[in-house]
Amino acid sequence: MIKARYVINRLLQIPISLLIISILVFFLIHLTPGDPVELALPPGASRELANQIRQQLGLDRPFHEQYTNWLFNAMKGDLGKSIQTGEKVNDMLIDRLPVTVTLATTATVISVVVSLVGVFAAIRFHRKTDYVIMLFSTIGISVPNFFAGILLIIFFGVFLRILPISGFVNPLKDPIEGMRHLVMPAISLGLLYAALHTRMVRSSMLDILNQDFIRTARAKGLREYQVILRHGLRNALLPIVTVVGMSYAYMLGGSIIIEQVFAIPGIGRLLIIAVTSRDFPVIQGVLLIVGITFLMINFLTDLLYGIIDPRIKY
């Protein structure tokens, strides 16, 4: 059973982790050269104007004051304004987060479905099917997601010309166009995790198939598919749940690159643009929101693991 103390401890860890990350990012960003205000202003703008903007944004105050200001505002749910566009960071995030979440979710679904071939690998342990599946999974782990994306673009976008090579359409508004835009980015993003999950499913299935209750199931005369599906797969998928949770969180990071390849207006593209223009409030906002999502997912999958596998004790 999950103890309340464990849950509280884990919950308390989340803000601590966030605090460490935010301090690191904030101080390092502000301690290094490269003035965002100069980058935002047109060349030849007067020094007074630059100073005025700095004052407005509070960039002329000492670092620790800037940090505590930012932290208190962030706690109140206000992440400040973009230095580049003056837009509210909150609004920018709300605009782009659903796009990234849609992409990561689709990629997760794809990776989970593909990973079920791991079951075949386990059943055919150390035979041809197993080796072929494992070889493909090793290749899947070795292909960087942006190269996978480019290969897909070359094949389906340039040669066959059946899929659009860039952009994003909300699948809730236009399901067909939305899916057509989503399928290549989602496959590129999901490829690595499909390969990793396949390995997990295989080894987890192998563990289960070696256990006594499987032998009992066979001994009592169940059909092989019943043994595999009802007794084997059901138990083998338990540990996969945590891995899927973790990989979902990692995909939020991976989508940064995929969004760049397919020109998808998600949170990753926002971050890249912010980084190149040293737009601090936006960088901090993106990191904070992704950090929170990441830590929450980790927390939830840990809890979920405890619930579905009663043998785990915290």
Binding site: Q13, I16, S17, I20, I21, V25, L28, I29, L31, T32, G34, H126, L135, T138, I139, I141, S142, V143, P144, N145, F146, F147, I150, L151, I153, I154, G157, V158, F159, I165, A249, Y250, L252, G253, G254, I256, I257, Q260, V261, L271, I272, A274, V275, T276, R278, I283, L287, V290, G291, F294, L295, N298
Partner: protein
Amino acid sequence: MGRVKLLMPGPKEFSGEKRAIPHTQWALFWRKFRKIALAKVGAITLLMLGLCAVLAPYLGLPSITEMDLSQSATPPTWLHPLGTDSYGRDLLARLIYGARVSLSVGLSSVGLSMLAGIPLGLLAGYFRGKLDSILMRLMDAIFSFPPILLAIALVAILGPSAGTVVIALSVVYTPRFARVVRSSTLAESELEYVLSARAIGASHWRIMFIQVLPNVVGPITVQATVTFAYAIITEASLSFLGLGVQPPSPSWGLMLNEARMYIEDAPYYPIFPGLAIVIAVLAINLFGDGLRDALDPRQQRGE
């Protein structure tokens, strides 16, 4: 058939007194490792890439910096076996030099993160208690963040360059080594040899680095190969995004990004730098899988 042999020692194994049975750790490892065909393929490929990287300046390759815009992105010819890049430079030569960038960035970031992570893990696992929780909370904080994101944040701070990539990757990967070493050290510290070392008055420092460290080399090696592969992919990703190695340095990720513009007119062009990354990473992964199988007694093949 091979499996039967393994289960039932053949006559050779029985009359093994004449045949030298390897009993050093290295010999035991080698005996298992050399049986794994794919691991050997990986090792040889890796070796060849390493040779390319080291010998690149002596191979008589065409210049990798001289531009000739009239020869931009030409298809493969005898003169340029893989064609030219967007600035008319020989692509093959740039890819070979790219191995230098990828391997050196990968190796140095793995090296640096080992340098930081191993002592941290030893300290945490050996002394336990408060020091352990503080160190591991810190590692968890770093670990609990998507690596590419943290790397981008660090690049944002330090400005894009090969050096920044190395620093960023080292920070990102340090917790991996700290964690692996800590958990192995926890287990090792329970063993009698540590107790007896303490009994004869060995210093903590001596026990950690001279006694315990050699016994946790296995997991560290496996972690190092996995991390090496990740480091190469992440370096390529960062360079691809324009946040890593800067032109005119020949980084595979950077070349892939330049090649992207030619997807319509010269679709073969982006494939070459991409393949270079895949080959390097695949070789490391195959090699690493073999290492893991040969070093980890629980994951033996066919037994």
